[in-house]
Amino acid sequence: MYPGCKANKLPQELANPEVDFVEAPFDLMRVPGVGKFLGWRHSRTFLQVPLLLVSILMVLHGLFGPSLAPKNLATTLTWLHFRGVLALTILCAGNFFCLSCPFMLVRNAARKLFRPRWNWPQKLRNKWVSVALFVLVLFLYELFDLWSSPMWTAWLILAYFGSVLIIDGLFKHATFCKFVCPLGQFNFTASLVSPLEVAVRDPEVCTHCHTKDCIRGRRQEGTPELVILQRGCELALFQPRKIGNMDCTFCLDCVHACPHDNVGILSRMPASELMAVEDHRSGIGHLSRRKDMAALMLVFAFGALLNAFGMVSPVYVVEKWLAHVLHVTMEAPVLGTIFAFFLLVEPIVLLGVAAWLTQRLGGSQRKLVPLAVRYSYALVPLGFGMWLAHYGFHFFTGMFTIIPVTQSAAASLGWTFLGAPRWLWTGIPVRFVQPIELGFIILGFFGSLLVTHRLSEDDCEQHPMRAFIPWAIVCLLICLAAVWLMFQPMEMRATFMMSS
């Protein structure tokens, strides 16, 4: 697989007669059983229904169950299992959570009752709204200590369902997924380093295709109203020109719609699409020209550090100091200052200096902002490494807690057949999990270095190392910060003002 190219599209270099063999990519749709299941028209619903039932259970337990987070399904499943499994799935396969998203099941059911009439406003067809919501979710998570409140967690899930119904009830296509959903943006960004992507098997077949069902869908002919038999891509990704996983929900509508059975779930080199930021992508354009998309990458990368920082001891020292300096007793302005530092000051300074050095040392002809936008994508592997380390830690160290919490929930309903809750069943000991965390961060670091190097080669053909070094230092600083955070005593305290 050639970096930055579609799995089975041969770049010019590979058309060289010296290269006589190109291995066909692995195709998940060709795996016996799995392919048949995913090719089944109702496979998505089949995956969504269990998640919807679990979501309902979480909401009910969150609202009416125990108020203590470790004993409630809403907090345990949301903040331990869901986040951990999600990140690991994206690392090992792809964006399969969006495939089985229960919100879409409810949306589809609601769309039977009322059909959306409007198109999403042109000015909002970018990632700015979702970036703002992503930051807002991170902020509310810290401000209201969502991890420790089953009730707030349940309301968050309900708010999600409500938002989906309102947005996609009013606006056509997959507006919520593409332009609003903060969780979806997280998944899209993280899946840029996934090993699998939904892609065309043989581009040659597409050149002869006149129906373009993968994006238009299939409609029944000969009826007064055009009846849609199969949706095309609701996120405006035209398969022959689609590159990578950005904006792809793995809904497999294109797979089902293609009359030539020419769309599969193909393997690729993880993060390779981050090296192709100059290529035009269907439904997205050029990544290198998308400031909104770059902002999403930066929030993803620096938000990973911020989210982990909120859980360790030093944050309370910083918060107390800030409260003293700002003369405030409320947490919101203190948190706001920390957020501004992590998500604005830090990225602007680091990327600004690195871009300036790239110009001065490497002789890049690009201006500062385009350079910063371009290299912001290189931080995704490192950011994902940090998210993996953080979410993986909670998941691995608490993976078995779902058993006693479920036993307890069943017992509260009078169902004793599951036995007494085994509260001491937690997970893998921290000493075994820490090396895994370290591995995720280092893996992300090397991924970012690889992408950065490739970008600097394109940027400064004469002196690629001179362009590479400033960005490598940025990556190193972030990596060191992540490792430092990982070895800090974790406190997960919610009451800094009270304790101050």
Binding site: T397, V405, R493
Partner: protein
């Protein structure tokens, strides 16, 4: 030009199924909520030492009264939980140090916000649970 799905319709099976499931789950939960205790068991003067609490062993003191009279002979186990899911709870026993006054010890395994649950078994076998917040436990 209007598009609609073939399986559309006001009462499609999917929509009906979802509504039925939601109603079933809601009914199940509402019907199974716990009833409140009728006895006037009061747990008072709850305190943790040392203050501020640090990760490691802490002593929990409290008084137990039934209708304003010291309640003696209760069997009490302590359970310390973090406010974040996924952390192992810690356990300990409390013993009666004077009539109606109890003392126990638990070893808090890390810094953060803790909650100590007192599982109280009364002399007549009835069970009561009391919660005590221990916020801001500092790391070692």
């Amino acid at each position: 030009m209007k598009f609609h799905f073939r399986r559309g319709g006001r009462y499609c099976p999917l929509t009906r199924g979802l509504l039925i499931l939601i109603v079933l789950f809601a009914g199940l939960t509402v019907g199974c909520t716990k009833s409140a205790l009728t006895r006037s068991i009061v747990v008072s003067d709850k305190e943790v030492t040392p203050q501020p609490a640090h990760a490691g062993p802490v002593t929990v003191n409290f008084k137990l009264a039934d209708d304003a009279k010291p309640l003696t002979g209760a069997h009490i186990t302590l359970e310390g939980d973090m406010t974040h899911a996924g952390m192992a709870p810690v356990f300990g026993d409390a013993r009666e140090v004077s009539p109606g006054e109890y003392q126990g010890q638990v070893t808090l395994s890390m810094g953060g916000d803790w909650v100590v649950l007192m599982h109280i078994t009364l002399p007549d076998g009835k069970k009561v649970e009391e919660q005590m917040d221990v916020p801001g436990v500092q790391s070692k």
